[in-house]
């Protein structure tokens, strides 16, 4: 289908894995992982920029990827060029010294292809199981961040923190990249956007979770202001993660992912049946209700909060995101048991009809 010629769009594309496991659609767990890695290989072949793996635990909402470095090591063996990202690693829930060690190994094993995505996480059951207090989430996160950066950039380091003390430690290995690119996941909380800007890191956003578009616009503004106030002149990467389906026609693109998307939302709501309780998660209090409300597919979800469209519709959305300053689109292409054939067809259709209009993507393909 011919698309109208226009100025090329500057946008990178990546594949984003936050897998929801449904045995009735995926078969065995082994098959489920195999599909995930096969899609990753396909993403490299199609000229994608990166693959991202999200860490979650204890639920079929994401719980099959409790360790990004383990799946990342497999992805690194199966690809040559694709960047490999954590989207994200839950910093408050593990020992930062170990995170530094594991991700440095992944960077070495992949020949310097790590994109280090970090965040606080938001699921109460994860904090409970690892016996961390959600009221400490920001402090835990910031301290872990500081320790990891020191571990990676200093020959030897010490850190006298509130949660973790380290004395004169030298880590091995250190990353191949002097400092891997850092992305911070920010969803609702202005303090997170501000902090990320101030530190000069890149941003990862998940717009579908945010009910009012203006909230995100304001937060992006906060991020940019903090970034320039801190003296960072370069353009940051902004990675936006969207549920994604590229269909043959507008009708098919709306209907074919519907059931899988509803399953995904129901699962996400179930994983968050206990709301985050701390003041630090004020804006998450109604997350479960928000996720459930989106089950009203036409009323609350489609088309604004997902990228479900034919190639022309996809392109139009990408232009809007480019105008917002988004530089990388993370395609959550395999969700809710959509089915292997559909996922692959959707990605291939997108690569054939949409990506040729985008300069960054063409660059990656070479």
């Amino acid at each position: 289908m011919p698309l109208r010629a226009a100025e090329a769009i500057d946008m990178k594309f990546s594949l984003f894995h936050l897998p929801t496991f449904f045995p009735e659609y995926h078969g065995s767990e082994a098959q489920f992982y195999e599909d995930m890695l096969a899609e990753t290989e396909l993403a490299e072949k199609l000229g994608f920029h990166a693959v991202w793996f999200a860490e979650h635990h204890f639920h079929r909402y994401g719980g099959h990827l409790p360790s990004v470095p383990v799946i990342g090591a497999a992805a690194a063996q199966r690809t040559r060029r694709l960047r490999i990202g954590s989207g994200i690693v839950l910093l408050p829930l593990q020992d930062p010294v170990r995170v530094a060690e594991e991700f440095a190994m992944l960077d070495c094993l992949s020949g310097g292809r790590l994109e280090f995505g970090i965040g606080r996480g938001f699921q109460k059951m994860e904090y409970d199981a690892f016996e961390r207090d959600m009221a400490d989430s920001r402090a835990l996160f910031e301290e872990a961040h500081d320790i990891i950066l020191k571990a990676w950039s200093c020959e030897r380091f010490s850190h006298n923190g509130r949660f973790r003390r380290v004395h004169d430690l030298q880590i091995f290995p250190r990353p191949v990249q002097r400092l891997p690119p850092i992305f911070v996941a920010c969803i609702f909380t202005p303090e997170s956007f501000e902090w990320t800007g101030r530190k000069g890191h890149n941003l990862m956003i998940v717009p579908y979770a945010v009910p009012h578009p203006q909230t995100l616009v304001d937060n992006l503004c906060t991020f940019r202001c903090a970034r320039s106030a801190a003296g960072f002149a370069s353009e940051p990467e902004i990675l936006a993660v969207y549920h994604f389906y590229c269909g043959e026609s507008p009708d098919k693109a709306r209907e074919e992912p519907r059931a899988a998307m509803l399953r995904y939302l129901a699962t996400a709501a179930e994983a968050n049946r206990e709301a985050a309780y701390s003041e630090q998660y004020r804006r998450y209090a109604r997350l479960r209700e928000g996720l459930s409300a989106m089950m009203d597919y036409e009323g609350m979800l489609y088309p604004e909060r997902v990228i479900f469209g034919d190639p022309e519709q996809c392109l139009k959305r990408i232009r809007q995101l480019e105008a917002m300053g988004v530089t990388q689109l993370g395609l959550l292409a395999d969700f809710g048991g959509l089915g292997r054939e559909r996922v692959i067809a959707s990605l291939e259709r997108f690569a054939r009809h949409v990506m040729p209009h985008c300069t960054a993507a063409n660059h990656a393909r070479k």
Binding site: E29, G63, Q77, E102, M105, C108, F172
Partner: protein, 364 residues
């Protein structure tokens, strides 16, 4: 008799180059080991100082993706120093992603400084080891949400994903070298045993193995269905002289390396009383000749090694030998030559080993 390889390697930038190159060579060796018919490859866990791997499942996952048949193990996973749920999760992922090839070797560690890095008291070492393993096995075998009220870890209505592929769970090799409590615990639990045959206390190690077997029987486990694996340094040379010169040098350098780590922070806890003050003391003052005479080194020409393996089978009753290679800065090409010689001249002598390797290859 099964033969495996264990990487408990010490990194030297002047020999190995970058960390990427170092890992790359290890992964190349793993591919060769599969081709040559080795039954398994294990990876050790240590932290910092360039010793082994901070996260064995990460390197093992990379190895899994380059191979089809060879088992992937840990020698050992340091249970007391990790959150057991993380271990259960990571190793279950590895088991599924490798097509059910995990051999999970566990232990309590032998270096005090590694306890210090993670702020864990050595006095809690045994208790954390037992509780952590208990949680890992429960997580792997649970069919629904479960709760756990431990001394160190508490879980409430906890659901575990993903399930390991091997059912009811991957084989567990519990380590015991000098400490009777460790052998007794391994036997009670009915795990396989892994031990160190390079430790200069052959008679003590033999007693540990006997104690383990006896405990298995006392607790209703059939010793014939449990493996006893033992670790040696391996260098298979063209001649005894060459083997002693090359292999001997690297083995001694490796002993020196971990003795220095041990001396950084001498043991004070009762949990390590059987180490008599630490591994540096155990190895202290031993020359190559002492170690060779005491049959602690699998270093020689094929004939020497064949004879030594037969002796170990007889003396210890081991049925699974795991060889440490690439230590002490041993260069890649020497590791490769030694492995090739071993496969060509030694493996065929041990019928069961050869058969096992051949049939496993056919299956792959």
């Amino acid at each position: 008799m099964r033969f495996g390889i264990l990487y408990n390697t010490d990194y030297y930038p002047e020999v190995h180059g970058s960390a990427s190159r170092y890992y790359g060579q290890i992964l190349e060796q793993v591919q060769l080991e599969e081709q040559l018919g080795f039954s398994s490859v294990w990876f050790g866990e240590h932290h910092y100082s360039g010793y082994s791997f901070g996260s064995p499942p990460v390197i093992a996952m990379a190895a899994a993706d380059r191979t089809k048949r060879i088992k992937l193990g840990t020698g050992v996973s340091l249970v007391p120093l990790n959150h057991p749920i993380r271990l259960a999760e990571e190793y279950a992922m590895l088991d599924v992603l490798s097509g059910g090839r995990l051999e999970y070797g566990i232990g309590r560690g032998f270096l005090k400084y590694s306890h210090e890095i993670f702020g864990i008291s050595e006095d809690e070492n045994h208790a954390r080891y037992h509780e952590g393993t208990d949680i890992i096995v429960k997580a792997w075998t649970s069919t629904g949400p479960f709760s756990y009220e431990g001394k160190f870890w508490q879980l409430r209505d906890y659901t575990f994903f993903p399930k390991p592929l091997q059912q009811p769970h991957p084989p567990i090799y519990a380590s015991a070298v000098l400490t009777p409590e460790s052998a007794i615990w391994a036997g009670k639990c009915g795990f396989h045993l892994s031990t160190g045959l390079f430790v200069p206390a052959a008679e003590k190690v033999r007693n540990i193995i006997q104690l383990y077997r006896q405990t298995l029987v006392e607790h209703g486990h059939d010793p014939r269905t449990r493996e006893v694996s033992g670790v040696y340094q391996l260098y298979c040379g063209a001649s005894n002289e060459e083997a002693r010169r090359e292999g001997g040098r690297y083995a001694l350098q490796y002993f020196k390396f971990f003795s220095e780590l041990d001396q950084r922070s001498p043991h004070t806890s009762k949990a390590f009383e059987h180490y008599g003050g630490g591994v540096s003391r155990v190895f202290g003052g031993k020359t190559y000749e002492d170690l060779e005479k005491a049959r602690l080194l699998m270093i020689g020409d094929p004939e020497y090694i064949i004879e030594h393996i037969k002796w170990a089978q007889d003396y210890y009753g081991v049925d699974y030998l795991i060889f440490e290679v690439a230590q002490g800065g041993e260069p890649h090409d020497l590791v490769v030559k030694s492995l090739e010689r071993f496969a060509k001249y030694v493996m065929p002598v041990f019928e069961t080993g050869r058969e096992a390797a051949a049939s496993e290859t056919n299956r792959a």
